[in-house]
Amino acid sequence: MTQQIITPSTASTEAIYATLRADMLAYQRIPDGITIQMLMGGEARVYVRAAPPTVKFPYIAMRLQRQSSGAYNGYREACMLEIQCIGRPESQLVLVSQIMDVVDGLFLGYRQPNAGLMFSRERARQTIPQFSQPADKDVVGEIAQYQLILWPQVLTDLRPNPS
């Protein structure tokens, strides 16, 4: 059964992914109005974890590693949001960098206070070195990891009070 997710929402893990994806696609860089979708030729190729096998390049894959700390009774999560932008052939390296610049514009200083709370603090970004066999050496990519702080509804509003 498929269920439509109304964003923004942090009511479940998939809702968090959907919200991040929706925000990524809606983000327009100031002042030129460039969006990720425009740089991808009009298609919204943003996936969770990995792209489907027949994907067109470039695409974005995102992954969240979530960790709760006892200091906030498990309500607050310090996450690592990993964004990979992958291109092929090698000539897409510039395009991949441009897409990641737009992603940086969104996630450096990201705030989503409309459902629970999500915000980002800092990031590390690097270009994937050229691979060799058995990896396809024509594939280029950039990886950015953002420290994302979450107060998700799934752990706050929707969770019974531990006391």
Partner: protein, 130 residues
């Protein structure tokens, strides 16, 4: 007439502190080496083609000074370990393949590494009779 003797142990402390810091880093890194090697024991896929090459190559560097103090690296010189960690489009399986091992291991054993560092560094400093 009574006298009070003051001894300046700062130099001795600093020397023990330096050696303790290095020993602590080596102890902390060894925990990560062990965890990564254990996670690599079954290989990356079905376990059918495990050669143990990456597992045997997991190693640590010597402690070295960096901008903020001392650091130590845990890594491998087997290049395809990087492909698996970051993900790659495999030309043989024609699929995207990814099995992160190193980063989850580092997150998993972070507190244990910190505890090992503290324990070993303290022991070095205390052994100096300070």
């Amino acid at each position: 007439m009574s006298s009070v003797e003051f001894t300046d142990k700062r130099l001795r402390f600093y020397s023990r502190y330096k050696s303790g810091r290095e020993a602590g880093l080596i102890a902390a890194a060894q925990i990560l080496v062990n965890v990564v090697a254990r996670k690599l024991r079954g290989g990356y896929t079905s376990g059918t083609f495990v050669t143990g090459n990456v597992m045997a190559s997991v190693t640590k560097s010597q402690p070295y000074p960096d901008g903020e103090g001392m650091s130590i690296n845990v890594g491998t010189n087997v290049r395809y370990a990087l492909f698996w960690e970051l993900g790659h489009h495999n030309i043989f399986t024609r699929k995207y393949e990814r099995v992160p091992i190193w980063q989850p291991a580092a997150e998993e054993c972070g507190p244990d590494c910190a505890a090992a560092f503290t324990r070993v560094a303290n022991r070095h400093i205390e052994a100096g009779g300070l």
